[in-house]
């Protein structure tokens, strides 16, 4: 195809049996639309804004994922209200850290991939199947990752077969690892994970699980300059999403604002956050 964009007609490649994967189909018909088919020069990473911290935690009946709202370019703040947590489909959530442009494009591609499969096959992929498809897409991005455009997603969702919320993490080479209880990725992840170690309980209710991840993001922002804390003056709060048996839902801004206001009020008294018992 000489044209960069798909033409109006249905060429023979559109017809007939073949793959149920949108990525595979696009690679055959219009490879230029896929992020994995691009090349970047040395140092491209410095030209791309970077998204930072994503936190996820399971609770009985689901999983909650939250992300801060900051994107940075070097020592500058590139955007203060970026969104890095998205519904991948009706029952799963993807959060992304790393090169923001490629990451957002990859989320869009992943959403289409899941929907495409569901429409062609008449049934959705299993949660593990979705996690594996994402691993393949990350693997295809390895070329760009080596140029500095690394994308590290965190994938979580409701598993209808096992009846629980599950979390999957990835490395830049496409390695997929199932995480238990809670996990975090991005520059502030070390601090967020340390925070969750002390705050997480396996029997959290959904509201407390949301509070735990918002606390973890606050602790990450406390020590990592690339992670944004809640912006009270501009009313920019973390994105918090849950996946349960009823599907994915985003916590309304008003509810996140309540969580954040409670959190900040308590930290006025104890800036390091809730105190965990010593023994």
């Amino acid at each position: 195809m000489s044209d960069r964009r798909p033409s109006g007609g249905l060429s023979p490649a559109f017809i007939g049996a073949g793959t149920s994967s949108f990525v595979d189909f696009a690679a055959a018909v219009a490879p230029e639309v896929l992020p994995s088919n691009r090349t970047a020069g040395e140092g491209s990473g410095a030209m791309s804004p970077h998204g930072t911290t994503i936190v996820a935690a399971t609770f009985p009946g689901g999983v909650v994922v939250a992300g801060d709202r900051r994107a940075t370019m070097g020592n500058m703040i590139a955007q203060r209200d970026i969104e890095k947590v998205f519904a991948a489909d009706e029952f799963s959530i993807i959060g992304i850290a790393g090169a923001a442009g490629i990451a957002v494009e990859m989320v869009g591609l992943f959403q289409v991939e899941l929907e495409h499969y569901e429409k062609i096959e008449g049934a959705p992929l299993s949660l593990v199947g979705k996690a594996n498809r994402l691993a393949t897409m990350i693997r295809q991005n390895l070329g760009l990752a080596l140029q500095g455009l690394v994308v590290v997603p965190l994938f979580a969702g409701w598993d209808e077969t096992t009846g629980e919320g599950r979390i999957f993490s990835y490395d830049a080479t496409g390695g997929r690892y199932e995480e238990h209880a809670f996990f975090s990725v991005g520059s502030g992840s070390v601090f967020a994970r340390g925070s969750l170690k002390k705050l997480y309980r396996p029997d959290l209710n959904p509201a407390n699980a949301a509070m735990a991840v918002v606390q973890a993001l606050y602790d990450a922002a406390d020590d990592d300059s690339a992670t944004g804390g809640p912006d009270l003056t501009r009313k920019i709060y973390p994105v918090v999403m849950t996946a349960t048996v009823d599907g994915v839902s985003r916590l309304p801004d008003a509810e996140v604002a309540d969580l954040v206001n409670t959190l900040v009020a308590r930290r006025m008294e104890r800036p390091d956050g809730p105190e965990a018992p010593l023994t």
Partner: protein, 254 residues
């Protein structure tokens, strides 16, 4: 070397059209019609696995009759076309008109290409507009011609008889239950007004809607099982008998 007989192009096209029409006439019918909140698809289909009605995109639905493998090919091609377009541009740039044109080109090319047999299919591409005035039902035939249907489209074996039945009772702005019952009654009466109606239960029907009231961007939804059974029974709770035909002079049915 043998010389092929000369066949006039008119004859050739007519033969191909007859061939396609015969194939289509063998199958059970599908009705696509406007209702108050969108577009309704009702097909007679005893298989739960092989669909005649399908989602293409956020606001696009697909219905087909004829040879399964052929319209399944078209359905897959439509989903690929829509997803690629939506991904390359924007979700709002995927339109029913674009898809109907692409199908028309493809079907027309196959119909007139000497080497291939024509597709034995008839399809509908339905698009849910932002308001009901913008809803569209495009009906495409085996030779690639497109018709823009104002109220409803009927395809398949006894299309003419069924269309008569739908036409008699159809009015704009039917609620979902009435529209489903109207379509099912018409499908059941495919033997003509004088023949006895067949029983069409939940198991024999494939029903789906493009629903404007749905909050999610993907407006296509299947209606099955208990929900469908509830719609087949009208609001009074009485079992729906197909509305008895007003006494029309008995016409001979072809």
């Amino acid at each position: 070397m043998s010389m092929p007989f000369y066949v006039a192009p008119e004859q050739q096209m007519k033969d191909r059209a007859d061939f396609a029409r015969k194939g289509i006439a063998r199958g059970r019918s599908v009705i696509v019609l406007h209702y108050a909140d969108g577009i309704l698809f009702v097909a007679e289909n005893r298989s739960q696995a092989l669909h005649k009605v399908s989602e293409i995109y956020d606001r696009l639905g697909f219905a087909a009759v004829g040879r399964y493998n052929e319209f399944e090919n078209l359905r897959t091609a439509g989903i690929r076309y829509a997803d690629l377009r939506g991904y390359s541009y924007d979700r709002s740039d995927v339109t029913g008109r674009g898809l109907a044109n692409a199908y028309a080109q493809l079907l027309g090319t196959i119909f007139s290409a000497g080497g291939e047999k024509p597709y034995e299919v008839e399809i509908v591409v339905a698009e849910l507009g932002l308001t009901s005035e913008l809803d569209q039902i495009y009906r495409l035939t085996y030779d690639g011609s497109v018709q823009d249907e104002d109220e409803f489209a009927v395809m398949g074996g006894s299309a003419d008889t069924i269309a008569e039945m739908v036409k008699r009772d159809f009015q704009p702005g039917l609620d979902l239950g009435s529209a489903v019952r109207l379509a099912v009654a018409a499908l059941a009466a495919d033997g003509g007004p004088s023949a006895t109606r067949r029983e069409l239960g939940v198991d024999a029907l494939e029903v789906a809607i493009l629903d404007r009231t749905r909050a999610l961007p993907r407006k296509f939804r299947r209606i099955r099982g208990d929900r469908l059974a509830a719609l087949l029974v009208d609001g009074t709770g009485a079992e729906v008998l197909p509305p008895a035909s007003p006494p029309t002079p008995a016409e001979p049915v072809q």
